[in-house]
């Protein structure tokens, strides 16, 4: 499942795409000769022709007739509705707009605010894929910048421009919405599960573009920007739509391309921290974006784009699914996918996310943040450097992909990382401290809030490491919790932790044992443990690593405990999620104010929601109530264990 090869060589595969841009004029770039490679079976058509084809398709017509019959309305009225949906949804990609928007505006922005945009130069595989079969681009989603990043990249490399699934909220932004539309964005409502007409029109719209090979289809598996820089658990709806033409053999194959876009500094970093703390997210608006531009007066470092190897859906599906159900129903009828298929879609989604994670580029600052968070409130600069270098080695052992040129000395790397992120941490008298104080001392609540803000912002960088570290770290945690050498016991603890954190980190479904073995393997590889058939021993060197790893994940363990405690003590009746988040937040906030906990990260609404989701998924919400009330919640990780 997880690639064990070391990725140090990957660095050689990158190429700076801004370099050339800086040397020539934007205008010339915008007007450059663009003759992309296209799908071999493409029958060229205009965006409006696609809409017409969708409206007239058997699939949509079938649903229209069904609805007309059920609601006793004339099909014309429903057809009208479908047309409106399509008009709202459809892109109207125009090369002119793309040239203007992508190359001119974005170049302008990109050149100004980022020092480098670097992309993997193995695009020939993508180029080949685009000609062969329909292609689905699956980038990670950390920032609004993602939206047109790929279009920019593909334009630069003379590849077919994608159509991009965007949230309908963008349409609220007056000019930007329309510009995005012309640049190839199409818009989907956030939730439309119950609306059959909408679902039919949307699905058919996407599938029509895919079948025709009209353009690569780009969407975000995570569904929304990850506010925490951790990969979010995947959404399956759009993925199952793009997979269906293959299941029904309307296309021979479909390529899925995992793409990792890593930011050295995320544009929305403070916005996210506010959001996680419950300060409402501003509605998307054009003026908001302009304000965002003002933030852009800073430097945001480097963006790394890694275009992964295209994955053939046919190869993934081979021998896995029984297509018989699809042969027994006319292909235009809406059909609920079988359990097999659903499971397959979910597996593919996780696989793609794991591939994204594998190719994420980690900056030195990520390491600094991880070390710093374990050494608050202040840390000696030299020690920080030493620890950072140590962590670099560990990260590389675990397969993390760090951008750290061989000739760059550690001090320089850490210093420049601190400089780029001076809004989060700074050097004071040879010590590095978080910027967690307000201008003047405020009320205690104010102090807690500021501190939480700083910790969450810093945490969001450390988070980038977590998916690389999660397997060995959960083994480490399990070792500490069980205080046992017996593999079996450690594994059962690991497996509970894995279930509890199943929404927090990305695990491939159903392979708990493999994950455990992977974790043990990596710990063995860095000489932290030795294993026999039955037992696991810590080495001398191991205790440092194990305690570092468990400390890295401690905020999550403690945070979840607080949340469980809230659930068991504070809520006695059924509650809604809307009540839940502010409820936990207040609960944790009070504990922080009183100094009864130091777990600021429990304030994160992301963590709160994940914890609840995991509990619901495990079906233990009720169970938790009983057990936690028996145990003393302050005694540490054992509580989770007893859940079993």
């Amino acid at each position: 499942m997880y690639s064990k090869e070391l990725t140090s060589k990957k660095r050689d595969e990158f190429e700076d795409i801004l370099e050339e841009r800086r040397l020539s004029s934007d205008l010339r770039y915008a007007m450059k000769c663009y003759t992309p490679v296209i799908y071999k079976g493409l029958s060229p058509c205009k965006p409006n022709a696609i809409k017409t084809a969708v409206l007239q398709s058997e699939q949509v017509q079938y649903v229209i007739k069904q609805l007309a019959k059920e609601m006793g309305e004339s099909p014309d009225i429903i057809q009208e509705e479908a047309t409106e949906i399509l008009d709202e949804m459809g892109h109207s990609m125009q090369l002119g707009a793309v040239r203007f928007f992508i190359s001119f505006c974005l170049s302008e922005l990109f050149c100004k605010y980022w020092s480098n945009i670097v992309c993997s130069v193995f695009l020939f595989q993508l180029q080949h894929a685009i000609q062969e079969h329909p292609v689905v681009l699956l980038p990670s989603h950390r920032s609004y910048v993602d939206f047109l990043m790929l279009s920019y990249l593909l334009y630069t490399y003379d590849l077919a421009l994608p159509v991009i699934a965007a949230g309908i909220d963008f349409l609220g932004m007056k000019i930007v919405g329309e510009l995005l539309r012309r640049a190839g964005a199409f818009f989907m409502r956030r939730s439309f599960g119950g609306n059959r007409l909408y679902w039919a029109v949307f699905a058919e719209y996407v599938k029509t573009m895919l079948r025709n090979g009209y353009a690569p289809i780009e969407f975000f598996l995570e569904g929304t920007r990850s506010r925490t820089a951790k990969t979010l658990t995947p959404k399956f709806g759009l993925l199952s739509i793009v997979m269906e033409p293959f299941f029904k053999r309307e296309v021979f194959d479909t390529y899925l391309v995992p793409i990792s876009i890593s930011y050295e500094r995320i544009l929305e970093e403070s916005l996210y921290a506010y959001e996680l703390l419950g300060v409402p997210k501003p509605k998307e608006s054009t003026s908001g974006l302009l304000k965002a531009r003002r933030i852009l007066s800073d430097n945001f470092g480097t963006i790394h784009i890694y275009v992964g190897q295209p994955v053939s859906l046919r190869t993934l599906a081979s021998g896995r699914i029984n297509l018989c159900p699809y042969n027994l129903v006319p292909r235009h009828l809406p059909q609920k996918p079988s359990e097999d298929i659903q499971e397959f879609v979910s597996d593919v989604a996780y696989k793609m996310e794991l591939l994204q994670i594998e190719n994420m580029v980690l900056s030195p600052w990520v390491l600094v943040a991880a070390v710093l968070l374990q050494n608050l409130p202040a840390m000696d600069f030299e020690l920080l450097i030493e620890k950072t270098v140590w962590l670099k080695g560990l990260t590389q052992t675990f397969g993390g992909f760090i951008e750290w040129p061989d000739n760059l000395c550690a001090k320089k790397a850490v210093t420049s990382a601190l400089a780029l992120h001076s809004n989060i941490a700074r050097l004071v008298n040879g010590h590095v401290v978080l910027n967690d104080k307000g201008e003047e001392d405020g009320a205690i609540g104010e102090i807690v809030f500021k501190r939480a803000l700083a910790i969450l912002m810093c945490g969001n960088y450390r988070n980038q490491l977590l998916n690389v570290f999660v397997r060995p770290s959960l083994v480490a945690l399990a070792l500490q919790m069980t205080r046992s050498f017996r593999k079996e016991e450690v594994y059962s603890c690991f497996s509970i932790l894995r279930d509890v954190f199943s929404d927090e980190f990305i695990f491939f479904p159903g392979i708990s044992l493999k994950d455990f073995e992977e974790g043990c393997f990596l710990l063995t590889k860095c000489d932290a443990i030795q294993t026999t058939q039955q037992e696991i021993y810590l080495t001398d060197k191991g205790s440092v690593i194990v305690s570092f790893l468990s400390a890295m994940f401690r905020p999550f363990v403690e945070g979840y405990q607080l949340i469980f405690r809230y659930l068991s003590k504070e809520t006695r009746e059924a509650f809604t999620e809307k009540q839940f988040v502010p409820g936990v937040r207040n609960f944790v906030f009070q504990l922080l104010e009183k100094g009864n906990t130091q777990c600021y990260e429990a304030l994160s609404s992301d963590m709160q929601k994940n914890a609840l989701a995991a509990l619901v998924q495990m079906g233990v919400v009720l169970l938790i109530f009983k057990i936690i009330t028996i145990e003393d919640p302050a005694t540490g990780p054992h509580i989770i264990l007893t859940v079993s």
């Binding site: 053999r249 309307e250 021979f252 297509l323 018989c324 699809y326 042969n327 006319p330 292909r331």
Partner: protein
Amino acid sequence: MAAEAVGSGGGSPSSARRRLRIISGHLRGSGRAALSPSPCKAQGGPAGPAAGSIPKKRQELLKWNGWGYNDSKFIFNKKGQAEFTGKRYRLGGMVLPTFKEWIEKTFGASLEHKTTSRASLNVNDVPPSIVNEEFLQDLRATNISYSQDAEDRVFRAHGHCLHEIFVLREGMFKRIPDIVVWPVCHEDVVKIVELACKHNLCIIPFGGGTSVSSALECPEEEKRTIISLDTSQMNRILWIDEKNLTACVEAGIVGQDLEKQLGESGFCTGHEPDSMEFSSLGGWVATRASGMKKNIYGNIEDLVIHIKMVTPRGIVEKNCQVPRMSTGPDIHHFIMGSEGTLGVVTEVTIKIRPLPEYQKYGSVVFPNFERGVACLREVAKQRCAPASIRLVDNAQFQFGHALKPQVASIFTSFLDGLKKFYITKFKGFDPNILCVATLLFEGDREKVLQHEKQVYDIATKFGGLAAGEDNGQRGYMLTFVIAYIRDLGLDYYVIGESFETSVPWDRVLDLCRNVKERIVRECKEKGVQFAPFSTCRVTQTYDAGACVYFYFAFNYRGISDPIHVYEEIERAAREEILANGGSLSHHHGVGKLRKRWMKESISDVGLGMLRSVKEYVDPNNIFGNKNLL
């Protein structure tokens, strides 16, 4: 009973008839004698078989290691030009000037790289005949002709799958029949089956030997004596009933003899599978055969009125000869498609029709395959399909083009050039995309012309252009020469085969594209160094779908185990067909080649139903060819 229908043989009816005349000329005796109304009387000397086109000693007329007649084959003449030998077919003796270039271009084959088959069968390689003496005594007592000769046995040990022909050319079968018997009538068959039951022996019925499903291969693990029951000497038309338009025929008659003899009385069955020169009536029944002109005459299940079959449990037949009856599930449907696992079909009453007054070929060029399929779908929808309508894809169109004989007159070549100019330059068809439908109309002259107009009108709506009778006729010729071409290919490292399926209309295009693509991809993955020839045609139309026929061949130079590679690719192609909603087989049958997909195809319970019939009818597995189940 042998399976019918390797993709070859029939040719066009008129050429078939011409062919038949020639054949009947140099075969002794005439078909007249066959029209004896009396059934076989075992005592007092057997009624004796009619003189059929295929002799008892098949090796006298047919190739021992390839397809068809000894005298008919493709060769490269001294000038290096391709030529088809013999006088049996329209193409006979003609030089095909562009064929060599086509082969070189399509397969990357070269005349310098040649493989050669063994010149003749080495009798010493042949597994010995093991037959128990008691059985032989009993058999002699019945006066039924038999042989333990090695050649006779090897000839009945195989059909015409690629791997079977390959074994003949380069190796030897591990297991072949121990003895060949030639019953001449129903009663003889009854006796043989009784003896087999008495001595617990295995019977494998043999009809025309044209199976392409490994149905005739002897199971290697069969320890009992294997009797090949050759039905070829049961080849008489027993009676013709002109009032009801039926004829009762012995099951061993081959297609060309049946049509020839009925023709003499002014009738035909109209059942023309591509293998009709060699395949037998019993074989058609046993495999659920389909004929080229099924649009008018129907498939075998539509043609059969009554079947008599000898099984270990006794004789199965209906008590009347009626067009339809409601007496539970139709027992004919246990027999049709049973592939020799239940018994031997001995006599069949089949529908006949007066010979058609008029026949006309035709062809239509379409700008692309999609338009062509759309047109066929519309023709099927309006239920106005001519006797035959087939649509070949571009690769097959070019293949047909390569088989054009040298043109005699400058005038014809000028006309051809003009036609080509009109279609490609004036109408803008891309010669590398366009495809061709071939048509055959049959019936009253007036109705044919009317029908023709209707079909051409539809074709016009789909961008089709009429492309003349000649092209149509050549299209049908392609069907029968292609099996001879395989033997030529084998000499030059090119192996190939055909396979077929049936599929709903809405999936035809996707299936054709995906299967072809799968073949190309599999070839690449399996290390085939040259691009394969992978092409298809839609050969039959139905209300709800179509029959699609694929040809697939590749140059295997550089591959150590070509047959294995070939089989893996064919298997992948079949998986692809099934995944695309196609059937396991439209008319070739299952045999042993496609058994592994039976459960998936007809469900567990379905398979159990068939098994329970087998268990009742043949509890000791006398008919042990291991086909189907």
